[in-house]
Each structure stands twice: as C-alpha cells, then as structure tokens.
Symmetry: C2
DNA sequence: ATTCACTCGTGCAGTATGCAATAGTTGCAC
DNA sequence: GTGCAACTATTGCATACTGCACGAGTGAAT
C-alpha cells in the first residue's frame, strides 16, 4: 500500500482533505460571527496582512469590482472595523486601515482556526505528523505556491495570505 | 527534520496547502463560468451527488434558509439546469433533479478540477505520492470526516461531497 | 372535523456584485 | 496656463444571495 499510489489516489486524498480544511474555516468564521460577512472578513484579513491601502488596492486584492469594495468599506466603516482617512499626499486617495475592533475580529477568527486544526492534529499519531508536513510541503511546492489567485471567488486569503 | 514536527508545523503546512486547494477550486469554477453562481453550482453538485430531492432537503444540504433555496431553484429552473417535478406520492412536495445541461456543468467543473490537481501531483516525485496519500488520509481520519458541515458558508460540497 | 406538522411559496430587509457614468485630483505636454 | 489624459473615489442601476416571518396547501393523527 506504500508503493503503488496512482495520481488518482493522491487527487482523491486531496479532495477529501480539503473538505476537512474548508469545514474548519467555515466554523472558525461562524464562531465569531458578529454580523461580519465572509467578504467583509476577507477585507479585514487583507488589511491586517498588508497594512493600510487605497480602496482600489483592496478591491484588487479581493478580486472584486471597485464599487463593491466601495460599499463594503462603507459598511465596515459603519461597524467601526475599518477607518477611512485622507491621504495627505494625494487628495484623491483614501487610505483604509484596521481599527482595533477590526484587528480583534481577525485575531479571534485566526485563533479559532488554529485551535481547531491543533485539535485534529493532536489526534494523529505523533510519528505521522512529520510525514504530513513533508507531504503537504511537497504538494505546495509542486503547486508553485500559486499566483495570488487573481479574481478569486473565495479569496482564501482567509486561510492565510 | 523528520523527527521533530510540532503540531504548529503541521498546522502551518495545512494552511499553506489549503491555499493551493482553494485556488484550484476557484479556477475550476471560473473556467466554466456560464453565469453559474457559486451557490448555484453548489446546488448542482448536491443534486448530482445525492439524486433528486425536495427543496427543503437541498436547503439542508447547502446549509441555507429554505427561502434562499427556493429562489435559487427558481433561477436554476429558468436556466434549465434543474427541473422541478411534482412528487406523485405527495402533492405538497416538489422533487428537484438535474437536467442534462445541469449535469454537464457539474461534469465540466469536476473534470477541470481533477485535471489541475493531476498536473500538480505529477510534478511531485512519485515516491512521495504515497506519503501524501497516507498523510492526508490520516489527517482526514483524525478530523473525523466531519459532520456534514452544517450551516457551512462555503459548502465545499464543491470539492466532493 | 379539528388539529398539528410538513412544504412550498412570498414579502421584506440587508448585503454582495458588476457595469457604466460622474466628479474631483494629479501630472504632463504644449 | 490651458488642456488633455490618467487615476480614484463615488453613485445609479440591475441582479443575486441571505435570513426571518408569514401565508397557503397538503397529509396525518386523534
């Protein structure tokens, strides 16, 4: 069983594993669910990862239309999760940044996700963990650690970014 | 490096791998994008996997409100991807089933996804593939192959189901 | 016959999404 | 300096997704 793994087998295993990973991500977001939508959360993650940016840049990272970002930021601003401030250098730009509350949402979700994954991992025999790391690393390498998934629908920036 | 994998390492590797998997899924859906929305596609997948069912059942599988399913089916019916037919046994039920066109959409996306994963897997050294299978299987097992992810937001039924 | 549970359908409200058009800002060429 | 082109944010319009609440038809149990 160790020697004859067809790529079909691998693909099947990958699909199976992604079901789990996605379930984890979904639950971790639901866990903090304080009205924060998926897309809204994606925005928060991008801002947390890359720091303050223009609205257009955010739209680019999310792979959505500028107008979509526009109105999402409207709502995030209302919820006090994101702050708009004028760019002193150029009056036509608006700089977005996370508020403390926004940062806190990101932290809570991330924490929840890591905790749940830890729980699963601890159920695995310790000797096998090293194999998982190697295997997944090999997979990710083979995949090229992909282009930033332009225009993604899911923006799994969620899962890391 | 083979002997001391902390669960932190594993979690990190998992997060990294999920980025890849999600990217694949996103692209495979975009590839066929003929107006079909994410949610709509999820519906098609569920129907393809479990066969004809009532609207309420579909809503349950998707983890959405019955009214959401209701109107989504309205649109899928307009697009001729799903057919409503009365259940002869009980006049209060409506049975949903995939049309040929609907089945074809599912097939195309699935095919695209598998093909892309295959491409990645083939880039990996063959000896390592067996490890990946074992590792991912162990992970999925440890995760319990989760409860149908009730109320999922992402419904990665997408990825298999 | 009445009551209760199940199903589907609809109205209402809020969010997300894209395309197109508008308006203010900036830089560059002339 | 005037004017044009590019950049940025914003708004209008149309559609889709989402949940909650309510209504209507159907079926089953008492």
């Amino acid at each position: 069983m160790q020697h004859k793994a067809t790529s079909e087998d691998v693909v099947t295993a990958l699909l199976s594993a992604s079901r789990v990973l996605v379930g984890v991500a979904a639950r971790s977001l639901a866990a903090v669910e304080g009205d924060v939508t998926v897309t809204q959360f994606r925005s928060l993650v991008v801002l947390a990862a890359h720091g303050p940016m223009k609205q257009g840049a955010l739209a680019g990272h999310l792979g959505v239309n500028a107008s979509t970002a526009q109105r999402m930021v409207d709502r995030l601003e209302s919820s006090d999760l994101v702050a708009r401030r004028a760019n002193p250098a150029s009056r036509r730009e608006v700089l977005l940044s996370l508020t403390a509350a926004g940062q806190e949402v990101v932290d809570r979700v991330t924490e929840s996700r890591r905790r749940e994954l830890q729980t699963i991992v601890r159920r695995m025999p310790a000797e096998q963990r090293a194999d998982v790391v190697d295997a997944l690393r090999a997979f990710a390498d083979a995949a090229h650690e992909p282009e930033p998934v332009a225009g993604t629908l899911w923006g799994w920036s969620l899962v890391g970014d």
